[in-house]
Symmetry: C2
């Protein structure tokens, strides 16, 4: 799926309903969004608190007819053995891919050597999983994020990662450099208004994630619809019927 | 809240994020939607399968600054003692109200005497909870649903219910009859395109629920946003930023 004419667009779900809806809408591969998974359960994102909820979700989604890749934040542990055990647990549930990030809860980047150890532990334990190594160089505000991202990409690929995810990379020139310098499928985060799939395809990007976008769109729909009812305004969109959603959930 | 100039508008949430968003949008009382709670966890609605998830959600939402009333479907049991135990469990979590429905998974209405026993058991166990007795006469397609709804409303109020919910009642003449004949706050389901809050207020309705509407709007936002990204179309709405949603979840 990473080697077709168009980039793989991976929409990100956070519960059974969002995943079932995306599957029904025709997406045959979906990811999860850690913000959504955490937020649905009242947890903050990216603090390493949603391990149980992440595994439970993977278990729920196995009955959907789609490939599933799971955002495991930074692995919910700094211990390579524990992170490898998580990968095994998810693989046993039928998950085909993982995202592992090097951004830390305090906004800094993990030591690249230690991060490579996590990558290596996952690769050894679950060689068949597609391991997408995410570097948060652009998000963390380090000097020269482009060079840092490229260097880390090489470290993680050498340790066994299958692809590299560089969220927040946006400029075409940066993307071109990443594609040229990283010898593996490059995954970008779709930034509405700044990216189109067509542009990203032209630049050589192989995989495009929506991150928390769909979750944030859902949160927005909740309040905008409730406020429209309160104000007797037209609904912002015409939602599917009860019966249509019930059929979706009954799959 | 049931005795003000305008009806109490109760938007219905299904997870922490939807409830937090509604609270932040200014709603000081919210309900839950059993379709959403079930659907988020891969369960069908109204089959009595989501008891654990419903209780867990109530526990999560207690930290939000809002009053919470919980949709317990038909009580997740036909045993009055078990249904009363559920009410106690929820009251202990700070829940201030319950919705109990008399529609059955097979689309028929429960025996009204047995349903009144459930109402009575809840009332005895948790007299301070606002017990909203829902009759599904209009939904179940019984002959003369208006008369059935009025008769059941009286049975449930006699058993200790505090209010009556008649979803699917829509015609102004039916609503007028329900308001006149039911000596307790009447709760209706908001039907987009058929109701406005102003009309329902004029008819004497005291409480208006959104049911599964917000959940269905969220599901719709997920797929419409994902398809817009796929097709390089403008997003259907401009969702809040990552930082705004992160702040919401961190409350």
């Amino acid at each position: 799926l990473h080697h077709r004419d168009v980039p793989l667009l991976l929409p990100n779900a956070w519960d059974f309903a969002s995943a079932a809806a995306l599957t029904q809408a025709g997406f045959t591969a979906i990811g999860t969004t850690s913000m959504g998974v955490a937020g649905a359960h009242g947890l903050p994102d990216a603090r390493g608190l949603g391990r149980a909820q992440t595994v439970a979700l993977a278990g729920l989604l196995r009955r959907l007819p789609c490939l599933l890749t799971v955002d495991v934040e930074a692995g919910f542990s700094t211990d390579p053995a524990e992170v490898a055990a998580l990968a095994v647990e998810l693989a046993d549930l039928g998950v085909v891919g993982l995202n592992l990030e090097d951004g830390r809860p305090d906004g800094t980047l993990a030591d690249p050597g230690r991060q490579a150890e996590l990558v290596s532990a996952i690769e050894d334990a679950t060689p068949d999983l597609y391991l997408n190594a995410r570097t948060d160089a652009f998000w963390c505000g380090v000097p020269n994020p482009l060079a840092v991202a490229v260097e880390r990409a090489h470290r993680y690929l050498d340790a066994g990662a299958d692809g590299v995810f560089v969220p927040a990379a946006a400029d075409a020139s940066d993307v071109r450099t990443l594609v040229r310098e990283i010898p593996a499928p490059l995954n970008l985060l779709h930034l509405p208004g700044r990216h189109t799939l067509a542009q990203l395809a032209d630049l050589g990007v192989r995989r495009v994630s929506t991150g928390s976008l769909l979750f944030r769109a859902a949160v927005h729909a909740v309040t905008s619809t409730a406020l429209a009812v309160r104000d007797d305004s037209p609904l912002p969109a015409d939602p599917p019927s009860y019966a249509a959603v019930a059929a979706l959930l009954d799959c």
